[in-house]
Structures are given as structure tokens and as C-alpha cells.
């Protein structure tokens, strides 16, 4: 992209307006961008000078459910994943009610509960999914379900902590990383591409050490 007027903002990728549910702050970012319209020469690239308002860190974010550690669980993937998403259900429903019924779940045709069971069966049978459209949409839907449940807790939450909890502590995070490794180790270029759009570089780096993979 080569916009004629651009405002650089110090916010995480995915949050161009800075902070959710903070209308005054969002308006200040918009106003700073709209002020660039009055410039007579360009292209313009200007820094937005304020960080997003800090969250309340006095009480560390608590997971709404206690995720069992990966090594102490002898049960099958299907059993562990089904139990985990079941424990999250009341928090997902609470979060959805709190957001006035809004949820990002629904990209896949089947429900997250059905899809997580199917994924668990495939992992148990060591069978790599072959329908990649289904796989991507199922994973994104289940991730949305987890994040909506995990952020339904009262109070503010820290984005990084929630992401770390998801990828480090949940059975589903471990399942996606397992799928990532299997697809990434394949000789098939399409499987490698699918691997890269399942798990973020940050989580792969934390699970495997310094990143060597540089492709999108």
C-alpha cells in the first residue's frame, strides 16, 4: 500500500484504533488521522504520540478454567479436547451474553464441539486432515470460541497473557502446534503453507526455540 497520508500508531498488529471499548481514545486516533487531510504536500507519514491506555494489571489475568498440563494426561486427544471445550462452554456463553449476543464463531459449517472431536479423532489416528478449507475454518472457529471464553472473565485482561495461556496451557493449543509440526515437516508445499496459517510465529517460536522459518 502507498497511502498519501498515513498515521503510524504504537499499537499491536490487529488493533489499529488502539484499545477496545474506549471511544474517547479511538476518537483521538481518528482525529489525528483526519488532521492529515489538511496537509498541502505529501506523502505524509506521521507518528501518533500516545500509547494505548494501560490495562489494570494489579490483578493478574486468571484462566476461567484450569487447563490440565499436557504431560499428565493419558487420555486420548479426543477425550482431552472434548472435556476442555466443555469446561469452557459456560464462559463462552457468558461472554456472548455480555457482548449482546455477538460472537465470531461460525466460519465453519459444523459447531466447534463437533469439529474439535473430529480433530481429536484425526490426531489419535495420526491421520493428517486432507480438507484444508475445513481444517482452517474449524481451527479458527475453535480458537474464536476459546478466546471469547477466556476473555469473558471479569475485569480487564492482558492480550499477551491470554495468547500465552492459550498456546502454552490449553490442550487445543497443543493440538494445533502438533498439526503445525506434522504439516510443516511434509514434503508437500501446500501442506507447509497450511501449517503457516494455523499457528502464529510467536507460538511456534515459544514452542520450538528461535525461529528459522521466515515465510508468511
Amino acid at each position: 500500500m502507498q497511502p498519501p497520508r498515513a498515521l503510524w500508531v504504537p499499537f499491536p498488529l490487529g488493533r489499529p484504533l488502539g484499545k477496545a471499548d474506549d471511544a474517547p481514545f479511538q476518537q483521538s486516533v481518528i482525529q489525528a488521522a483526519l488532521n492529515l487531510l489538511h496537509r498541502q504536500t505529501g506523502p505524509v507519514l506521521e507518528d501518533y504520540p500516545h500509547d494505548a491506555p494501560a490495562i489494570d494489571n494489579e490483578t493478574p489475568a486468571t484462566c476461567p478454567v484450569s487447563f490440565a498440563t499436557k504431560t499428565s494426561e493419558p487420555a486420548s486427544w479426543k477425550t482431552r479436547l472434548s472435556r476442555e471445550i466443555g469446561e469452557l462452554a459456560p464462559w463462552y456463553e457468558l461472554g456472548r451474553r455480555r457482548r449482546g449476543g455477538r460472537s465470531l464463531v461460525g466460519i465453519a459449517d459444523a459447531s466447534p464441539q463437533q469439529n474439535i472431536q473430529l480433530l481429536g479423532e484425526q490426531l489419535d489416528n495420526q491421520a493428517l486432515p486432507t480438507d484444508f478449507v475445513w481444517l482452517k475454518r474449524a481451527v479458527e472457529d475453535i480458537k474464536a470460541y476459546y478466546f471469547e471464553a477466556m476473555t469473558a472473565q471479569p475485569g480487564d485482561y492482558d492480550r499477551e497473557t491470554i495468547h500465552k495461556q492459550f498456546w502454552r496451557d490449553t490442550q487445543f493449543g497443543a493440538a494445533v502446534l502438533s498439526l503445525y509440526r506434522q504439516l510443516q515437516n511434509s514434503d508437500d508445499d501446500r501442506q507447509k503453507m497450511i501449517a503457516r496459517i494455523l499457528a502464529p510465529r510467536e507460538a511456534i517460536g515459544a514452542a520450538t526455540g528461535p525461529l528459522k522459518e521466515k515465510k508468511t
Binding site: 504504537p10 499491536p12 489499529p16 488502539g18 479511538q26 498541502q40 474464536a144 471469547e148 510465529r201 510467536e202
Partner: protein, 155 residues
Amino acid sequence: MVRLSDLPDYERDHLLSKNMPPLGPPVWTTPTKPLNQMRVALITTAGLHYRDDQAFDFADATFRPLDGGESPDNLIMSHSSVNFDKTGFTEDVNVVFPLTRFHELVNQGTVGSLAKVHYSFMGAGLLPQAYESGASQVAGMLKQDKVDAVFLTPV
């Protein structure tokens, strides 16, 4: 647009490793009227659409029209990249697609009016040239809608 210096090392290295072709000469237009007489459209590259629209594919240069009169709370996201935060959008659509904020600006008299239709692309996995056809189409529709300025929110 996020500053490169604010990104984690692995993300900055990833972006700097891309050897992208140079873009054409900068486009520049000086407004001929004040903001409170302008008609503004929103365009996002966040891969947003309504639940019954076709989801974006893994690499996809198409776009989805977003109705300016419909609640943005009905939007969902099918962006294929996993390397940006989606929890902000989960909490509040406006953090990515600030339609409610712009309605407030119109009501305050700061902005003249909003477009009837806004647009969503999915910015991932393709070179800029792939978007040329869709972008030209959108430009034509923005002209038909008498839009004077576009507010672009990349993720």
C-alpha cells in the same frame, strides 16, 4: 499502521525479509472542501464480512461490501493470517472498523456524511498487483457514492 520499531523481533525480521517491488509514484489529492462537508468511506484489510457472505480464501484479492446502514456488530472475520491479534475485534468492532465512531463524528458535525457502502479486503499472501482489479472496482463505486475521502484501517 503499526510502527516497525514496535513489532517483536521475529515479526520485524519477517517483514524486512520481504523483497517487495517498488510501488508507483505517490498519489496525492488536496481536498477542495472542509471535512464537515466531506463524504467519508471506510476500507479495512482485516478480512471482515457478514456471516452469510463467502469467507475469504487462504490468499484472496476479492473484497466484500459492508452496508453503512447495518450494525457493524454483525461482522465476522475470516482473515487467513494468524500473526495479528484478533481479541480486540472480538471485544469491539470499532478497534478495527470504526463505523460507530464515524457516525458519532457525523452527528457532531465534524464529518459531512458517510458512504452508503464501505469495503473490506483481506491483506495477506499476495503481491499488491493482485489487488489492482478489485481496488479499481472499489474506486469506481466510491466515485458513484460521491465519496471524498477514505479512512483505511490495515491490520
